[in-house]
Subunit: 225 residues, 2 copies
């Protein structure tokens, strides 16, 4: 763990991948500098938040100049460990899982779904989006010695806890949980939870209860903690 | 807009649907009261946060008793407008869109996908998850007079802005954006953005840079603002 970046607040840390993607595009297009206003318009985060975020990692924009794109790019690449490939598995090849398998994560961040697992014999043995689909029965065996730490969970809620227990036993450290189930895990396991119904209900709630004056920005990242 | 609930901080407001779902289940199972500790274990939000959140809406738990389930349930039902059905449309019936159409939102929150739109002639005219799929060409015509304010956007990133412009012209007020595109909209339109690659990268980043002591809770909601 890098002590320096470990001091970045979590809310800021969560915006890093977003900044990184945009800065990478800027750099590819040959741009040398960028203002917080331009960044704000592109990533839809208000510019005061951007300036505060960037100050945490020592990128202090100069008035009338903005930020140096290459400095930002190398900072983000290092901080987000873009030079090391992160291998991921996916459990549950339904519609949502299939959407993930077709999503080219490696293009914008150095993350690759290595294997997928399902219980459907019609899916086991196939390749989807170039990812092999194995039987869920083989989970432990396939993970053995692979040093994979992250799993995407797109199974029915009723199977989620049982599969999570098996993932934890197989040394998975982080789970991106797309099921409505709230998972119980040991403290050293990190769960990020994305609940589609909660996201939808939250949007509806905000439409009804918040006027534009109430919000810093009408565009908002997903949810909660 | 309800002035009373408009005072609730946004981070708290975003957790309401999560609390509501759990309280509803408790009530269905005949439970009369619940402690913040029980709530915390079930919804995976730390109990200090729960107590602070609940204090905003006047639900002050009693020591040794906890919260009254029926009081909470009626508060949440009213605040989340559960007695009024919210109609939603979905644009883009790919894998992710199809996952949404099969998701029974109405079961846990009073939200219903009324229509879906796609450009694929093989999908137009079919019903998926009991939702009719129309041609995207008919978007404006189908929305006319329907009083639908929310759209779920699950199209390729390259089409996202163009379709969003059409949605805004058709009086859509909120968009749940699942594309990587950052959308430009007038101030009165609310966008919630859920970017699958950013979620994945954010989880990987946290695994590498945060130990369990750094976090209030290892289980975390999705993202950012």
């Amino acid at each position: 763990m890098n002590q320096e970046t470990a001091k970045i607040p979590q809310a800021t840390a969560k915006r890093l991948p977003l900044y990184y993607r945009f800065i990478k595009n800027l750099s590819s297009s040959g741009k040398q500098r960028v203002s917080s206003k331009e960044l704000s318009e592109a990533v839809k985060v208000d510019s005061a938040t951007i300036r505060r975020d960037f100050s945490y990692f020592g990128a202090l924009g100069k008035k009338g100049y903005g930020y140096n794109v290459n400095y930002l790019l190398s900072f983000f690449r290092k901080t987000l460990d873009q030079d090391a490939l992160t291998k991921v598995i996916l459990i549950g090849v339904g519609n949502l899982g299939t959407a993930f398998l077709h999503y080219n994560f490696i293009k914008n961040n150095n993350t690759k779904i290595e294997m997928a697992f399902d219980v459907d014999p019609g899916k086991v043995g196939t390749d989807i989006g170039d990812v092999p689909v194995y039987s869920l029965d083989e989970l432990e065996e396939r993970l053995e010695g692979e040093n994979i730490e992250v799993a995407i969970l797109t199974v029915p809620a009723t199977s989620a806890q049982n599969i999570t227990d098996r993932l934890v036993s197989s040394d998975i450290k982080g789970v991106l949980n797309f099921t409505p189930a709230r998972l119980s895990v040991p403290n050293h396991i990190r769960i990020h939870h994305i609940d589609l119904a909660v996201e939808l209900q939250s949007l509806v709630y905000f439409l009804k209860h918040y006027t534009e004056e109430d919000t810093e920005m009408s565009q908002d990242e997903s949810v909660t903690e």
